[in-house]
């Protein structure tokens, strides 16, 4: 055990040197002269650097419902053009069903259904047909909806592309958002809390909204909508969409002629053409600006409008800024539901780091003093190894770009206490061997030999605990598991290799015949 080949010595020195090189960027803290170093700084978790962690669910059901309703409309239209008579067209949660009046239309109907594409599977029971969105279609819809949502979220949260948010899919219908450095988490939630679906639709003037409500049903092709402002008004709106949010070329926060906050928009060429035509045909009629199913305002068309206009309503300046941003970013394909939020202010993060660092230093000093008092010179060697151990942990975290969290700092401090355990095992063994009357060198040699299997057994079992924490943990707990696991591995290395090397060097120089431990 006391034979240490040259290559092993070089190996230990090389690892320690690598550790120092990779750990250094964290110490130099953005110093320009450090640019030659290969490594990066440790990735701080949101609980240390401040930021928002959000787990969102994409409300696929809303998309599916909309899709099936559109399917119903398509089928209705196609049947009418082919002059097929049918009844009882119903849109349910997962299918569209209808009944043919005439059996003879069966083949034509089948043809129409198969032209709908491979996403749908028709089923027939006598004259009743059911067209279902099949599993492949559902999966495709889910994937697309989530992918689109991720893209829109990115554009809303990081319009300039500078904030480096993490936005990733989790499971089937979830999206994880990690946004560092957030001052106002409520604003983030507001940005994600609305789909921002903008449409311009004509107001139905065949009767008033109140009349329609009293009659209990709206005229065909029209629908009742609430006001977005707190005025309790209702509107009767034509279903046909004149212009929708996809046709926007840009939107900016501005003020109207009365100096009230407003959002001005520019339409693309397609949108401008359509808007121009409808407004030209309907001068004098009111049209509604509808955001997420609610009427923001319903101005009267004074003249033909083409490329640009203004949205006014009950807005504050902050609201127009946010509205302009979400309109520029585009509408979300489905509403987002916030399942989990963890937001940490930058001040708390900085305080946590300071407290954690201070606790780590105090812990290190306490352990060092105790080891020194207990084992003297050998204790000092163990503390030197512990220092290298901490450098290696920092280096490994930096090199792997693992995330250091607040519980992770606790993990490092805890590792300090446990890291010396391997050394303690060896030193106690050496003491025992000395007690049996062995010479210094023989005692050290057999102390190491006997302790190593214990060290491996005991550390591997702890590593299991860390492994399962990593597999099942989330967020900060995962960070704790990573530091704990890395700490176990590095402390095994430092105890078995570094301390031993130091002792070997000492033995070779001093050639001790007696050892007091």
């Amino acid at each position: 055990m006391l034979q240490f080949q040259l290559w092993k010595k070089l190996f230990v020195v090389a690892i320690a040197a690598l550790g120092i090189i990779y750990a250094l960027p964290n110490l130099l803290n953005g110093n320009k002269n450090a640019a030659f170093l290969p490594g990066k700084k440790i990735n701080l978790g949101l609980d240390l650097q401040g930021g928002s962690h959000l787990l969102l669910r994409v409300d696929i059901d809303a998309v599916r419902k909309e899709r099936l309703e559109n399917l119903g409309e398509t089928i209705r239209r196609d049947f009418r053009t082919k002059k097929i008579r049918f009844s009882a067209l119903v849109v349910t949660d997962d299918a569209v069903s209808l009944q043919l009046r005439d059996k003879i239309d069966g083949p034509t109907a089948q043809q129409i259904f198969s032209d709908l594409g491979s996403d749908y599977t028709p089923a027939r029971d006598g004259n009743v047909y059911q067209i279902r969105l099949n599993d492949a279609g559902l999966t495709l819809m889910q994937t697309r909806t989530v992918d689109q949502s991720i893209e829109i979220i990115r554009r809303r949260l990081d319009p300039e592309g500078t904030k480096e948010p993490i936005i990733q899919r989790q499971g089937l219908d979830r999206i994880l958002v990690q946004l560092p450095g957030v001052d106002d988490p409520e604003a983030v939630k507001r940005l994600l809390g609305r789909t921002a679906k903008l449409t311009f639709q004509l107001v139905d003037i065949s009767m008033t909204a109140v009349e329609a409500k009293q009659r209990g049903r709206s005229p065909p092709g029209s629908v009742l909508m609430e006001s977005a402002n707190d005025d309790g008004l209702i509107y009767l709106i034509e279903k046909r969409v004149m212009v929708s949010g996809e046709m926007l070329d840009g939107a900016t926060a501005t003020f109207d002629q009365n100096n009230r906050p407003a959002v001005s928009f520019v339409l693309n060429s397609n949108g401008a053409r359509r808007f121009g035509k409808v407004t030209g045909d309907n001068i004098g009629r009111p049209f509604a600006i509808i955001l997420d199913g609610k009427v923001v305002s319903a101005p009267t068309i004074q003249s033909q409008i083409f490329g640009n206009g203004q949205i006014t309503g009950d807005f504050s300046v902050a609201e127009t800024n946010e509205l302009a941003l979400v309109l520029r970013a585009g509408a979300l394909p489905a509403p987002l539901i916030i399942l989990e939020e963890r937001s940490i202010g930058p001040g708390l993060g900085a305080d946590s780091i300071a407290a954690g660092e201070f606790a780590a230093v105090i812990g290190l000093v306490l352990v060092a003093v105790y080891m020194g008092l207990s084992y003297g010179f050998f204790g000092g060697l163990a503390v030197a190894a512990l220092a290298i151990n901490i450098i290696l942990i920092i280096a490994a975290l930096s090199a792997l770009q693992a995330t250091l969290t607040l519980p992770g700092i606790a993990g490092i401090v805890l590792t300090m206490g446990m890291a010396v355990d391997a050394n303690v095992l060896v030193f106690e063994r050496i003491r025992e061997e000395l007690g049996k009357g062995r010479s210094a060198i023989a005692a050290i040699d057999s102390g190491y030999q006997r302790a190593i299997s214990t060290i491996i057994d005991s550390n591997l079992t702890t590593l299991f605990a860390a492994l399962f924490l990593y597999i099942f943990g989330s967020g900060p707990i995962k960070g704790f598991a990573v530091t704990l696991g890395i700490g176990i591995l590095t402390s095994m290395f430092t105890a078995v290799m570094v301390t031993r090397l130091l002792i070997v060097i000492w033995v070779e120089r001093k050639r001790p015949t007696k050892l007091i431990l």
Partner: protein, 310 residues
């Protein structure tokens, strides 16, 4: 001059206290299960769902009394308000709101608005009901899987009796830690699950060290009775056991005193774990071994290298 908390040549008859330890541990575990069943755990929002907001008054101490009145009048159900670390800091906990996730988000906005401009919100955590149930399930899975993996590993490296004794000792540690949380009403959250798993890791570490020595002595001293071998092994490793416990406790103390309010409960749980883990290694795990019939005539008497045996 060396600091030695334990002399090198102790000969304590640990197993003499075996019956006492069985009694103590039985009461401890039964009491823990009882407390868990009757009092229950003070589940944090991680598992129960709900809202947690940490805020700091930006000019002087927080007026908890006035604020409590205002928050309670919001009609959000069970709201708890407490100081947190310093006199300027407060922690607000709001129970899970009826209704879907939107209702929860609205409640956060209501509380932030009530805190007003006098307070800087430093932390907002919200866990919806779906996620809470998932986190609880994952936490359970983590603990159970870790215990099973440890059991299999010990079985593989030692005999089944060792594995059984170790797993009983570990379960003892986990249950009594849960009992501590029920007794003190410390918040039981994700960090607590991490603490429990670390306690399990620490405790098994301790147990394995003693078991290794038992295995070695079983082979070396064929004429000794099992009880003598167990006592000898415990005495031989006692100095190390105490040494490692003290260094770990020192590091944990540093976190309790200086590590900030968020880590304090975590570190306190760990301190308990170090104490109970050390106790259980000595008195529960090894005590149980003395009850088991360990096979001892498995080789020809030659000292085989420990590492080649399974």
């Amino acid at each position: 001059m060396r600091l030695k908390l334990v002399s090198s040549n102790t000969s304590i008859n640990f197993l003499k206290f075996h019956r006492l330890a069985v009694l103590f541990s039985s009461i401890l575990v039964a009491g823990s299960i009882g407390l868990f069943a009757i009092v229950g755990l003070n589940l944090g929002i991680d598992f129960r769902g709900g809202i947690l907001i940490e805020a700091r008054h930006n000019s002087g101490p927080a007026d908890i009394g006035r604020l409590r009145g205002e928050l309670e009048s919001l009609g959000l159900g069970d709201i708890s308000l407490q100081g947190f670390g310093t006199e300027t800091d407060i922690l607000v906990r709001v129970q899970r709101q009826k209704g879907d996730e939107k209702a929860q988000i609205a409640a956060i906005q209501l509380v932030s608005a009530t805190l007003g401009d006098d307070y800087d919100v430093r932390r907002t955590e919200f866990v919806g009901p779906t996620v809470g149930a998932e986190l609880a399930e994952k936490g359970m899975m983590a603990v159970v899987c870790a215990l099973l993996a440890i059991m299999v590993y010990i079985w593989f490296r030692f005999e089944w009796q060792f594995s059984l004794a170790a797993i009983i000792a570990l379960t003892h540690d986990v249950l009594s830690t849960i009992g501590l949380f029920a007794l003190t009403s410390f918040e039981f959250n994700l960090a607590t699950v991490a603490a429990i798993l670390t306690i399990a890791g620490y405790s098994i570490n301790d147990t394995v060290v003693v078991f290794d020595r038992v295995r070695e002595n079983l082979r070396r001293y064929k004429s000794f009775t099992l009880v003598d071998i167990l006592n000898k092994s415990l005495n031989e490793t006692l100095s190390r056991t105490v040494m490692t416990s003290v260094t770990t406790l020192l590091a944990l103390m540093a976190i309790v005193v200086f590590g900030g309010a968020v880590l304090r409960d975590f570190a306190i749980a760990m301190i308990w774990g170090v104490l109970i883990g050390t106790y259980s290694s000595v008195f529960v795990a090894v005590g149980l071994l003395s009850r088991f019939d360990i096979k001892r005539n498995d080789d020809d008497g030659a000292e085989t290298p420990e590492y080649e045996r399974s």
